[in-house]
C-alpha cells in the first residue's frame, strides 16, 4: 500500500497547486502510515523533480518519453494507472486542474476506484470509512462522499490545502511505461499559454469586474489594480457574454469556480449564480455604488461608492502601501 500523486507540469515547472496536491497526498500517506510516491510525465529538470521531496514525496517516478511530452488524457491515464499498480498504490491524488478533470474519471475506471473530485479537505478515515468533502452545486454547498472501493482517486481543489514543507529531497527513479499507440490518437497541434499573466484557477488574488464598469474600455484600471496585486482577472457572465472580456475569465455557476485568498468584486451585483463560483474565497471585498447590492451580504469588506472614483484611489493607496512596506 502507498499513495501516488500525479504532479502535472506546465512548461517543465510545477505550480503552487501541485505543491498543494503533494502536501495533501503526503498528509494522507501519514494518516495511513505509508509512503508517498510522485509521478511526473514530460520534460522536467532533475532539480525541479527533487524539490518535490520538500513537500513529502519520498520517491519521484520520472517518465520522460518523447511520445508523452505533451498531455494526452488517454495515454497519461494509462501511465498513471500502470504506476499505481506497480507501486501498489491504492490512493491516487491529483490536482483538480483542467487536465486533472480529464484524468481523474479515466483513472477511476481503470483502477475500479471511487473518485472524489474537487476535494477541499483531508479525508476523514474514522470508523473504518473513507469520507471526502468536496464542492457540490457549483460552490453553493459541499458534499461528503464516502469512497467504498478498495482503490481511490482524489482530485484536490486548488487553494484549498496549505502547502507544508517537510523533509528534504526525493529520490528520482526513471519509469518507462508501456505506451499503446491507440492511447495516442489525440494529437496536439498547438499550445497557447499566456505566461505573463496569472492564471485564474490558480490565483491567490482575483480582481473581478461586472456590468457596473459600463464597457471594455474601462478595464484599464481593473488591469492596473490586478497587476499591482499580482492578481488574476475575472468577470461576471454578462461581461463575457457581451464580449467585453474573454469567456475564460467568467466566474460563477456556469463559469469557473475560484477559491482565492482575496476576491475583489467591482461593479458586480452579486447574483446567486455569480456567488456560487466565488463563495469559497477566503476574503471578499466588494466595491459597488449600490449599498443594497446583494453582494454586500456575503462580503467581508465593502466600499459603497462609484468604481470610477474608488478604484483609482485604491490603486493609489496600494502604491503607497507598497512604497512604505
Amino acid at each position: 500500500m502507498s499513495v501516488l500523486v500525479y504532479t502535472e507540469n506546465a512548461d517543465g515547472k510545477f505550480k503552487k497547486s501541485i505543491f498543494e496536491a503533494v502536501s495533501y497526498a503526503h498528509a494522507i500517506a501519514v494518516q495511513n502510515n505509508t509512503n508517498l510516491i510522485a509521478i511526473s510525465i514530460g520534460d522536467v529538470s532533475a532539480e525541479e523533480l527533487t524539490a518535490l521531496g520538500k513537500y513529502g514525496a519520498e520517491k519521484v517516478l520520472n517518465v520522460s518519453n518523447e511520445k508523452l511530452k505533451n498531455f494526452v488524457n488517454q495515454a497519461y491515464a494509462s501511465v498513471i494507472a500502470e504506476a499505481a499498480k506497480k507501486q501498489s498504490a491504492d490512493i491516487v491524488v491529483l490536482s483538480n486542474s483542467f487536465s486533472g478533470r480529464g484524468l481523474a474519471p479515466r483513472l477511476g475506471v481503470k483502477l475500479e476506484a471511487g473518485v472524489a473530485d474537487g476535494a477541499v479537505s483531508l479525508p476523514d478515515q474514522s470508523e473504518g470509512k473513507f469520507k471526502v468533502k468536496k464542492t457540490a452545486f457549483s460552490g453553493k454547498a459541499f458534499a461528503i462522499v464516502e469512497l467504498t472501493s478498495a482503490n481511490k482517486v482524489i482530485s484536490l481543489t486548488p487553494n484549498s490545502y496549505k502547502i507544508v514543507e517537510t523533509s528534504a529531497g526525493a529520490a528520482i527513479e526513471d519509469f518507462s511505461p508501456e505506451v499503446k499507440a491507440s492511447d495516442l490518437a489525440a494529437v496536439i497541434k498547438e499550445i497557447v499559454r499566456a505566461t505573463d499573466k496569472v492564471s485564474l484557477p490558480d490565483a491567490d488574488i482575483v480582481v473581478s469586474g461586472g456590468r457596473g464598469l459600463k464597457g471594455p474600455e474601462n478595464w484599464g484600471m481593473i488591469e492596473e489594480l490586478a497587476d499591482l496585486l499580482g492578481a488574476a482577472l475575472a468577470c461576471s457572465k454578462p461581461v463575457s457574454d457581451a464580449g467585453w472580456r474573454p469567456h475564460s475569465e467568467h466566474v460563477g455557476q456556469t463559469g469557473i469556480a475560484v477559491s482565492p485568498n482575496l476576491y475583489i468584486a467591482i461593479g458586480i451585483s452579486g447574483a446567486i449564480q455569480h456567488l456560487a463560483g466565488i463563495s469559497s474565497s477566503k476574503v471578499i471585498v466588494v466595491i459597488n455604488k449600490d449599498a443594497e447590492a446583494p453582494f454586500y451580504k456575503v462580503a467581508d469588506y465593502g466600499i459603497v461608492g462609484d468604481a470610477f472614483e474608488v478604484v483609482p484611489k485604491l490603486i493609489m493607496a496600494i502604491k503607497e502601501y507598497k512604497a512604505s512596506a
Partner: protein, 245 residues
Amino acid sequence: MKILVCISNVPDTTTKITFTDNNTQFNTNGVQFILNPYDEIALARAIELTDGGNGTVTVINVGEISTEPTIRKALAIGATDAVRINAKPHDAWFVAYQVAQYIKANQFDLVLTGREAIDYNGSKVAGMIGELLDIPSVSIIKKLDISGNQVTVEREIEGGKEILSIPLPIVAGTAEGVAEPKIPNMRGIMSARTKPLTVIEPVEVKTFSEIISYETPASRGQVKLIPADDAAKLVELLHTEARVI
C-alpha cells in the same frame, strides 16, 4: 453522422440550495429543474453539426420519469430522438456505465456531454464513458469542428488553450464558446410531443461511492464598510486584519 448528447436534469441556477433529514437529502421542495446549461451548449453544437439532414442527434438521460419534461425540451430544441434509462443517477460512474452500454449497442460517431453538471459537478461522465469505450475524451472544450473523420477541438488549460486533432469517435465535454444555446420555436415544441422517446431499463453495476451528507458554506460575519474616500483604510485592513496582502 450519428451524435449522442448526454443530458442531465438539474436544479435551476437561481435555486437556493438547502438540505433536509439532518443534511442528508437535497431539498427539492419548490425547486425548478432545467436542462443543464452546458448540455444546452452540447445540444446546440450537435444540431449545428447535423444541420441540413447531415445526420441525427439522439439525447440520452439517466433518470426517473420526472426528467421527461427536460428530455422533451431537448427534443423541442431539435434533437431527433431521445432515450431515457430508467434509474436514479446514483453517481457519475453509474451514469457513464449505463450510457456506455447504450453506445456499445448503438454506435455513435460523436458523444457530447456538458463540461459538468451544475448539481454535483464532477466533470467525470465524459472521461468515464471514454475509458469504458476505450476511445479519446476531452473534458472541457471551447470549440469543436469536424472535417471528414477528424475532430478539431480547443481545450481550456490554465492561462491558455490547447488545440487538438483527434479521429472520431470521441467523447467531449462542452463549455461556453462551443455554440450558443438554442431556444425552442413553436414548431419544435409541437413536434417534440411526437418524437420518439425510448425508455430502457438500467443494467446492474457495482457502486464505488456514496454521498453521506451535505454542508452549506459557513456564513460570513457582517460586512465591514469603509468610507469611499478612505481606500488606505481598506489596504491597511487587508494587510493587518485579513492578512491577504
